[in-house]
């Protein structure tokens, strides 16, 4: 069953890549915060001039 050996090598290589990625991600604090990432992704990063800015009256000049 030489094909099994081949598949084991391929599967284990992929597993090793993922293990490496997992260790990297833990070491780089990817999973420290389970609260803010799912919320932050909900916000779109529209340029600030698109957002009505009430604190600054100067912006009102270029209204429609």
């Amino acid at each position: 069953m030489s094909a099994i050996i081949l598949l084991l090598i391929a599967s284990l290589s992929v597993a090793a890549v993922f293990l490496g990625a997992f260790i990297w991600s833990v070491k780089h604090h990817q999973f420290d915060d389970g609260y803010s990432p799912p919320r932050r992704m909900l916000f779109d990063d529209h340029p600030s001039e698109d957002i009505p800015d009430h604190s600054n009256n100067k912006k009102a000049v270029h209204g429609n």
Binding site: M1, S2, A3, I4, I5, L6, L7, I9, A10, S11, S13, V14, A15, A16, V17, F18, G20, A21, F22, W24, S25, H28, Q30, F31, D33, G34, Y35, P37, P38, R39, R40, M41, L42, D44, D45, H46, P47, S48, D50
Partner: protein, 712 residues
């Protein structure tokens, strides 16, 4: 900190979205064509290209690689930019990726219609296209990893993890399964043979489902579901566990496609165990999706996007529970080779992939065109037609599969098989008709969507470059001056990941090639001999016409199969089969032992008009085989290729001797046909096919008892 202004590239997303809609309709039409062919075989119009054996791979390749493939790219190109807060790495690469992929699809459809196929399910495209796929996939990878490296958001959101896993694993699967020896421009033979080829193929086939149809779409779910519901995912921690558990377990489940075949038992058991384990992460993911909507079910009533996503996730849950159950050997005994499998995959394909794609399209297009959906009501109609379509598709096929399997296994009190194979087929034809109605409804729904989105596009203004603002990636180490250098260090792990992947791929290849050359230790059966040149030609025709899509060549060790077909199949019988042709579906009977069962003239008449030999048969006519000339100029190359793959033809056996042997065998079959008053011209393909069919399963009958007795 300085805020940077940049633009998201919507143009590439737009092109992929158009491609999704176009190929979706094409792929579903091909599917509907194939579905109707199953009870109305004359639909092939007497043309090889439109016959089931060629339409079916066109359908599967179109919906998997064209519809879902473009769906993946559409969703990834949209969400990755926003999750990384940066434009895609390179517009040029995006363009090469898009057009490269569409070219592969077009070339794939043409070659499949022309009968250019490797004969391995879901990996049918021939070697030049395999190379093209690898090239475009690498372009996609560079573009994706480049974007991740240049991100402005330090956290890599869980969706991106799913995208990364998809890229890495699909690359590996594609390379390993596509190792083949080219014979000519559009013909190659799989490097592996028999059991080994089967194992590699289903390791690939199963993981293509896992890493092409599942993980990228889970990534899309984790982005588009929270966005559409405007609330965070139920549990981010669960999504992380979902990801790591799923990718670690999925890769081992492949052998469950080969239960009770000639594959060694321990490999089968391994596949079963991992398949059962898969329930946990799969359902964790499904519940994570559904719980996200807790307290928001009123929105589901209003919002067509959410309706589609909810049904998609529910179907994901159903398919991922059913899959492990089908992997149990006792259940698989009943379900395998029947329409049950087809029903199962369509819950995944129509429900999970299709509905998720529709949901994403309904969400994306109004946003990119800065407008609202043209008609929510029409989208609602699409939803209901589609849902009813799925139900009408799946339930009749579950019924058909179960009924047919029970009929196959039914014995009379005297111990005889109760039903002829053909009786079990004609019995389920009403179910095939209902299935095609279900599929037709689903297609109508998709057409409504295209109309609705077209109207939406017409009323909006496309934003090709969407402005956004974000701070650059925060630096973890406070820097004084030398920013560039520190930033490079900080981002190095991603570069490391890219390079290590390339290293693994190269290392894998170097390790693999010697492994292929190691002589296999499958129990040898001395009476199993290489195919003769004429049989080899016949085998190529068998593959070209897609016979393996309706006929298996694998007798499982069950009472009914042994009674119906003969001695169960042994691993040693397939050592010269490049590629293996075990098949996965018995729309027609198994052919592993068909050799010698009928006279040559029976096969001749059967190919001309199947109903003349088997009244009520749903097999199409292969009348063109009677007229098409056999291309004997290929014989020398074919033998040479087989020898390189380790098939032991005698030393010095070349084109000359092979040509003589071919002519002699052809003359024998011609004489046999003549004795039954059938005249056939010289060098016709039909003779080669008859030669191959008459060879199947015969060698073992001359095998010494001790070589076949206790083997599987």
């Amino acid at each position: 900190m300085e805020i940077e202004k940049f633009y998201y590239d919507n143009k590439t997303v737009k092109w992929f979205a158009y491609a999704v809609m176009f190929w979706g309709i094409v792929g579903m039409l091909a599917g509907l064509w194939a579905a109707v062919s199953m009870y109305y075989p004359a639909l092939n119009l007497g043309i090889p290209a439109t016959t089931f054996g060629r339409m079916r791979p066109v359908h599967t390749n179109a919906v998997i690689f064209a519809f879902v493939g473009n769906g993946i790219f559409m969703g990834v190109y949209y969400s990755l930019q926003r999750l990384c807060k940066t434009r895609m790495f390179s517009d040029k690469l995006s363009k090469i990726h898009f057009w490269g992929w569409q070219l592969i699809i077009v070339a794939g459809a043409i070659t499949l219609w022309a009968g250019k196929t490797t004969g391995k399910e879901y990996a049918e495209l021939e070697w030049p296209l395999d190379i093209a796929i690898a090239f475009v996939w690498i372009i996609f990878g560079i573009n994706m990893f480049g974007t991740i490296i240049r991100r402005r958001e330090s956290h890599i959101y869980v969706a991106i993890w799913f995208y990364i896993a998809t890229w890495v694993t699909v690359a590996m699967l594609h390379i390993v399964n596509s190792v083949e020896l080219p014979v000519s421009m559009w013909k190659s033979y799989s490097w592996y043979a028999g059991v080994q080829d089967a194992l590699v193929q289903w390791w690939y086939g199963h993981n293509a489902v896992a890493f092409f149809l599942t993980t990228p779409y889970l990534g899309l779910m984790y982005y588009f579901l929270p966005k559409a519901a405007n609330r965070p995912i139920y549990s981010y921690r669960l999504s992380i566990i979902h990801f790591w558990a799923l990718i670690f377990i999925y890769i081992w489940a492949g052998p469950h496609h080969l239960l009770y075949t000639a594959l060694p038992d321990w490999a089968q058991s391994l596949g079963v165990v991992f398949s059962i384990m898969l329930i946990a992460p799969s359902w964790g993911g499904m519940l994570n999706g559904l719980f996200t909507l807790r307290g928001a079910w009123d929105k589901v009533k209003e919002e067509p996007v959410l309706k589609f996503l909810v049904v998609a996730i529910t179907c994901y849950g159903m398919a991922t529970l059913e899959g492990p159950l089908l992997s149990l050997k006792s259940v698989n005994t009943i379900s395998h080779f029947t329409d049950w499998t087809i029903a199962h995959v369509h819950i995944g394909a129509l429900g999970w992939n299709g509905f998720l794609t529709f949901g994403v399209l309904y969400w994306l297009i109004p946003r990119m065109w800065n407008t609202t959906l043209y008609s929510k009501k029409l989208a609602g109609t699409h939803f209901w037609i589609g849902t009813i379509g799925i139900v009408l598709y799946a339930i009749p096929l579950y019924w058909a599969g179960f009924t047919q399997s029970m009929m196959w296994k039914s014995f009379t009190e005297e111990g005889q098989l109760r039903f002829q194979f053909l009786e079990t087929v004609t019995h389920i034809i009403p179910m095939y008709v209902t299935r095609s109605i279900g599929g037709g409804l689903y297609l109508i729904g998709a057409v409504l969507m295209v109309y609705n989105l077209r109207k939406t596009i017409l009323q909006g203004n496309f934003i090709a470059d969407e402005a956004a603002e974000a701070a650059p990636l925060p630096k973890t180490i406070p820097t004084h001056g030398k920013t560039y250098w520190h930033r490079w260090i900080e981002r190095r792990p991603m570069q490391m990941l890219v390079f290590s992947l390339i290293a693994v791929a190269i290392g894998g290849m170097i390790e693999l090639i010697p492994t292929f050359l190691v002589k296999s230790n499958i129990p040898t059966i001395t009476s199993v001999k290489p195919y003769t040149p004429l049989e080899l030609h016949g085998r190529d025709i068998y593959i070209r016409e897609g016979c393996y899509l309706c006929h298996s060549q694998m007798v499982r060790p069950f009472r009914d199969e042994v009674a119906r077909y003969g001695e169960y199949s042994k691993a040693g019988e397939f050592v010269y089969d490049h590629p293996f042709q075990w098949g996965s579906k018995r729309t027609g009977p198994d052919l592993a032992r068909v050799g010698g069962k009928y006279p040559d003239s029976w096969h001749f008449n059967h190919m001309l008009d199947p109903t003349s030999m088997s009244p009520g048969s749903i097999m199409p006519s292969y009348v063109w085989l009677l007229d098409t000339e056999l291309d004997t100029s290929r014989t020398g190359n074919m033998i040479r290729a087989m020898r390189r793959l380790g098939v032991p033809y005698p030393d010095g056996y070349g084109a000359d001797q092979a040509g003589k042997d071919l002519a002699a065998q052809e003359a024998t079959i011609g004489a046999a046909l003549k004795a039954d008053k059938i005249q056939t011209g010289r060098n016709k393909e039909i003779v080669a096919l008859i030669a191959y069919l008459q060879r199947l399963g015969k060698d073992i009958k001359e095998a010494p008892k001790e070589q076949t007795a206790m083997q599987k």
